[in-house]
Structures are given as C-alpha cells and as structure tokens.
C-alpha cells in the first residue's frame, strides 16, 4: 500500500507579516517585562530596561547600559538567569 504524503507549503510572506503583527510584539513585551522584573530584582545595583526593535520581525530586548554591567553579568549571570522568568505562558 502506498504511503500517503502530505505536503505543507509555508507562506513566507505571510509568516513575515505575522511576525510583525502587534499581537506578537505585545506578547514579547509581556515576556520581556517578566525578564526585566527578575533581572532588576536579581541585581538592584544596575538599571535594566526594555528596548523595542525590528529585524525581519518584532524584537524586544532586555539590557542595561550601566558601566560595569558586563563584568557583573560575567560574574553572576544575572540577566541570563532572568530569562527563565520569560518562559511559560
């Protein structure tokens, strides 16, 4: 008996439009807010913030421009650990 083959064709233009929709940015911003809260609680010595950006899709970043934050991150992994707060629903 011949195997049944199902073909799926991805609409690349549609996917690009989807990834730039407001609801995607809102969803990412909500998660970034949780990461921001966890990072700020983890190390109150630095000021963390959210940055909105766009590549080929909506991008939301959490970071800090404070002097010495990279060395602190190297020593503690505070921001990296805070990423877990953005997971889940």
């Amino acid at each position: 008996m011949a195997a049944k083959v199902t073909q799926v064709k991805l609409d690349s233009k549609g996917m690009r439009e989807l990834l730039n929709e407001d609801f995607v940015r809102d969803h990412l911003t909500d998660r970034a807010g949780r990461v921001l809260s966890a990072a700020q609680a983890g190390d109150p010595n630095f000021q963390y913030h959210i940055e909105q950006a766009t590549t080929d899709r909506a991008v939301v970043r959490v970071g800090s421009d404070d002097e010495g934050v990279l060395f602190a991150e190297s020593a503690t992994g505070n921001l990296l650990r805070a990423l877990d707060a953005g997971a889940g629903s």
Binding site: E73, S74, G77, L80, R81, L83
Partner: protein, 136 residues
C-alpha cells in the same frame, strides 16, 4: 505508581568541564596547554583558565533539557584569551553526539570583558540541549 519513566538529566556544568579537560590537552595549539578548567576561579589564579557556570535554562519536555552555560576564558594576553575562547567554542560545537548533548547554540560569541584582576577575559554563552536518561 508513575506511568511515565523517571528521566534524570545530566549535570551539564560537570559534563562540560570534564569534556574540555579531556579535549584541550590533546590539541596542538600552544595556548591549549596547561589550561585550568573548572566551575570556580582557582586560588591562586592560573595563566590560562576556563570557568563554566550553568545559568538556568528550562526543561524542554520529558526527555530534553536546555542548559544555558556561561563560559569565561582567561589568557595571559589579549590574543591568547581570544584564541583559547575560540578553541573552547569550537570544541563545544563539535560535542553533539546524543550522549548527552543533542545540539549546541551560541547566543554570545567571545566578548572582551574588563576584569577586576586585569587578566584578559572573554565571556561566551552557550545553549546546550541534552538528553536525559531513564532512572530505575
């Protein structure tokens, strides 16, 4: 009684240290010799050091874990720190064989960091997806 197998994940920090401790001495690059590898900075400090730390990462499903690793590399010069960091990255990227590492990604490449010790330091981060094992 559980209807699912009990799956335990490996200690990825320990695995990475043991893997790099085994691989670095077999390399011919001069900066791969006499490298301290561990999960804490030794005292006294070494001229060449690789320090691995797990910084979270979620369990993906019943059998796979995503471990975020911060890997700090120090050298006795800026160039040596960069070269050793590049070699460490190459070794980690070559690791996936399913036992236990399935996949490696590197969100952050070798990044110079001003260390209080003034010893040249490079910071890198890796995401390792690993497979768990059945625990009887």
């Amino acid at each position: 009684m559980s209807s699912w197998p009990v799956v335990v994940f490996p200690d990825v920090e320990l695995w990475a240290c043991q893997y790099l401790q085994a691989e670095l001495p077999s390399r011919s690059e001069p900066y791969a010799a006499d490298v301290y590898v561990g999960n804490v900075v030794p005292s006294p400090r070494a001229g060449r050091m690789v320090v691995v730390r797990r910084d979270g990462g979620p369990r993906l499903d019943h059998t796979r874990d995503l471990a975020r690793l911060t890997v700090r590399v120090w050298g006795s010069s800026e160039q040596e720190a960069t070269d050793l960091a590049r070699l460490v990255a190459a070794l980690l990227w070559a690791a996936p064989n399913g036992d236990p590492v399935i996949r490696v990604d590197q969100p952050t490449g070798p990044t110079p960091v001003a260390d209080d010790s003034r010893q040249p330091l490079r910071l890198q981060t890796f995401d390792l997806i690993v497979r768990g094992t059945d625990s009887p």
